[in-house]
Structure formats: C-alpha cells, structure tokens
Amino acid sequence: MGDIRLMKGNEVIAEAAIRCGCDGYFGYPITPQSEIMETLMIRRPELETGMVVVQAESEVAAINMVYGGASCGKKVMTSSSSPGISLKAEGITYLAGAELPALIVNIVRGGPGLGTIQPAQSDYFQAVKGGGHGDYKLIVLAPASVQEMNDFVDLGFELSHKYLNPAMILSDGVIGQMMEKVELSEFKPRWTEEEIIAKSGTWATTGKTADRERNISTSLDLDSAKQEVFNHKLQAKYRAMEENEVRFEKIDCDDADYLFVAYGSSARICQKAIELAREKGIKVGLLRPITLFPYPTKAIQEMLGQVKGILSVEMSAGQMVEDVRLAVNGKVPVEHYGRYGGIIPTPDEVVEALEQNFLGE
C-alpha cells in the first residue's frame, strides 16, 4: 500500500505537483483554491525537488510566467478560481496558439462577476468552448474525488506535453475543500533537458545551439495563408484528442431506463441520487465524463437505444446539457437540472427532478 492520507483536494493538487516532477508553479491567491499555493509554500519544494514556486502580482502575470516556463519545455502550472481564470484567458489562448504545454487548475466558484466563493460548475463553457479568443481547445479533466485530484495532475501534464497543448483541471469548491482518503503518487524526478527533448522535440527556448535553428515561442503569424495552415494543424490535433483521449465512467448503466450525465461533484451527488431512485424502483444510471474536452459523445450515443430520457445535472443554469443534446441529436428527451450561485443540489432534489421530467410526477 502506498502513502495514504486524509487530505483536501486543493492540498493534494500541490502535493501531486511536487511528486510528479513539476518544475514551476505560478499563482495568485483567490478563494476557494488558495490552499494550493499555501501548501506549496509550506512544503518548500525548492529545497526538495528544485521546483520553483512564485506568488505573482496578478493572475495575468501568473499565466504569463507559465507561458515563459512552458516555452522552456518545463512542466509548469497555475491555479485559480473563476474570476481569476477569466483574467488568465488571454494567456491561455496564447499558450494554445504557441502550442505550449501547461496545466491550469480551476477550482470553480459561482458567478458571474465576483459572484460567490461557494462551489459551482458554471465555467463549463469557458473551459470547453474557449474562454479566450480564437479557435482553440483545452484538454479538460474533471476530477470527481480527491484521489482524481491527485491522479489528474500527472495525467494533465502527460497529455499537455503529448499534444503540446494546455490542459485544465476543472474542479470546484466541493472537491477542492473536502478531504478524502487519497493514495499519493510515487515521487518522479523532474525531467532533464534531454528528457524534455526526447518527450517533445527540440522546440523549447533553452538557448540556440550551433546545431539547430533558433526556436521561437510565438502565436503570431501575420500571413493569413500560413495562419490558416496553422489552424488546420491545431484542428487536426483536436481531432486526434477526440480519437484517443476520451475518458468517462459508467455507473449502474447496464439495466438503466434513465441516465444522468454529470461530471465532478455533480456526478458524486448523482451517485447518491441513483441509490435513492433505485430504492424507489427507478432504474437510473450515470455516465460521468472525465474528459470534458474531448467529450464522450459516442459513449452517450451508445446509450440511446436503451434509455428513455437523460438528465444532465450540473451546478449551472445549463451549460454541459448543450453537448449532451448535440450527442443525442433529438433521439431521446434531454433535460437539465442544476442549482447555481454557489448552491449545491442535494441527491433528493436530483431524484425529484428526474421524476418530474420523465416520470410524470
């Protein structure tokens, strides 16, 4: 058995970063995710692994430090919560445009505006559809447990370096603030420059040596024809992600007449709702997208011959439901149930919503 602890989701993000060989964290305080940087500052990884931790002057500076670090081929990350992610949006689209790997953690809180510090899932569109300008995608991972907060830090770095594209962990105050049993990952050493080259080629701005052309980390090309060709390349990359990286989990789906689709903390609430509904004789299952981009469209489509209705549950006014409807394409009724503004729906409410929408009660 490995190193088992009782830890908060946010603390685990920090610990997992150190253990997976992260080179640099650049952050700015914002509730409900400040424990990430606090934990790193307490842990002093600069003495242990050489990892650099910087409290930047703003979210804007933090994401641009990430851009600088990523340009060096390093494993770098930042974390924030919704209003801070809006500020980082510029930097995130630059990262995507420059094809740089980085990990961005969003512990979502209710909005819009300054909103509330309580949990929400109302940044789905921002994470999955863009957020910044231009045709780009992030790899978006949605942990539903503290254990997945641990696991997805390493996974996020792996995927972002594999595709040279920023990855995001989209979580919320529930998973960030709660403690669960977690088995921490083994320590991995930080990559050497040789390993960075082996991993993703010689693109990093580590100093131009005589044996290669100079490397330029940029998202600029004033020649529209070239810019279109570059966009084709990005789109091909996103199609490859859709082909290879879709991750999801099915719970109690085998005999299900109805289906919940929910990610993150809503998926946890739906698991309890399944228990309650099945006590009442309602056969409902859960399809939990783990990657929000690429989205498990096919997995949803495979359920369509079986289920009579789908309830998309999200702590929002209805964002992910649009992707469920795109997948379903009118073949079965799809409804949304959500609480928002920082209110967490209870399992009972979710069952009620299922009954009201599909069981005529």
Binding site: I4, L6, T31, I117, Q177, M178, R268, K272, E275, P347
Partner: protein, 183 residues
C-alpha cells in the same frame, strides 16, 4: 456499513478537527471516508459544520441532505439540522446554550454536557473530544484504538504529547452521555 454524519456548531468549538479525527480513524480501519466542511466567511466566528462519511464502500455524494447522525453543538445548528436526521437516526447534542431542545419522536436522542465537562477538566480544548466520546458510546463505529491512531495521524508531531489528554476526554464523554429518547 455507511455512516453519514453532520457535526455542527460554532467556529472555534473544534467541529472541523473532530470531523477530521473521526475521518482519520475510519482510514485506520480501512474504510473510505469523506470530510466536507462549510467554508468561507461563515467559518470566521460564525457557525461551522462538516459532513463526515465513513463507509466500507465507495462513497457517493460528500454533500447530503439527510444524515444518520447529527452532532449538534449550538442552537442555530439545532434549528438547521434537527429535521435532517433520517427517521430512526441519531441526534447527539450539548444542552449548553440550547434554548429549544429537540422535539422529534422518530429518532434516538442523546445529550452530553460537553462544555460543562470541559470546564471541569480545566481545558476548553478538550470539548470536541468529549463530544467524540459521547458519539462513540452511542455509535461505536470506530474502535478507540483507531481513534488513537487517527489522532496520531491528524495531529502534528509537536502536539502528540496532548494525545493522552484527548483520550481522557473521550473517556469522559463515553461515561457521561445521557439517553433522552431511545427508540
């Protein structure tokens, strides 16, 4: 076995740390656990509550509306959570500062004078472990030895000298819990 517990009281009563020790005790006996606090400004001097779940199986929702057990340590929490105990469930409370005692007749109700006992012990910080003792007496879901190991895990090394005092407080709680209503 799954036990879904809400612990609610004032910030500063040790509500969150009691929940943490309970969760750690669950880990010590190889259970799945979750600990979900209320967080934010309401923590600072106001009410604090934490949902703790111990289970032999994978835990579904860390956020709940109904609880097997409510441990209630102030009037606001009594007003908020009495109705949320499952029928047949358990409510444990400290009568200190309570102006409206629990009224339900379909749940087990226990009382423990935690604040008074803590004063008696001469250390207000023992309060939450006295309550813990009361809880373990009426719901022996974790073994005392696992609580001891949970304390060792959750307290920083420099506070380990306080573990015997905590165990003493738990014993005090075990000895002093009173039954108000047993179904």
């Amino acid at each position: 076995m799954t036990e879904e517990i809400i612990i609610a009281g004032f910030g500063g009563q040790g509500v969150l740390s009691m929940g943490k020790i309970l969760a750690y005790s669950g880990i010590m006996q190889d259970q799945e656990v979750s600990w979900m606090p209320s967080y934010g400004p309401e923590m600072r001097g106001g009410t604090a509550n934490v949902t703790v779940i111990l289970s032999d199986n994978r835990i579904s929702s860390p956020v709940l509306k109904k609880f097997d057990t409510a441990i209630i340590l102030n009037q606001q929490s009594m007003d908020k959570f009495e109705a949320d105990v499952k029928p047949g469930g358990t409510l444990l409370y400290d009568p200190n500062g309570i102006t409206r005692h629990p009224e339900r007749t379909d749940i087990n109700i226990f009382r423990i004078p935690g604040a008074a006992l803590a004063t008696e012990m001469g250390n207000p910080k023992t309060f939450n472990m006295i309550i813990m003792g009361g809880f373990l007496k009426v719901k022996p879901i974790v073994k005392l030895e696992n609580v001891q190991r949970g304390l060792e895990k959750s307290l920083p090394e420099r506070h380990h000298k306080l573990i015997p005092l905590n165990i003493e407080a738990i014993q005090k709680g075990i000895e002093n819990v009173e039954t108000v209503l047993a179904l």
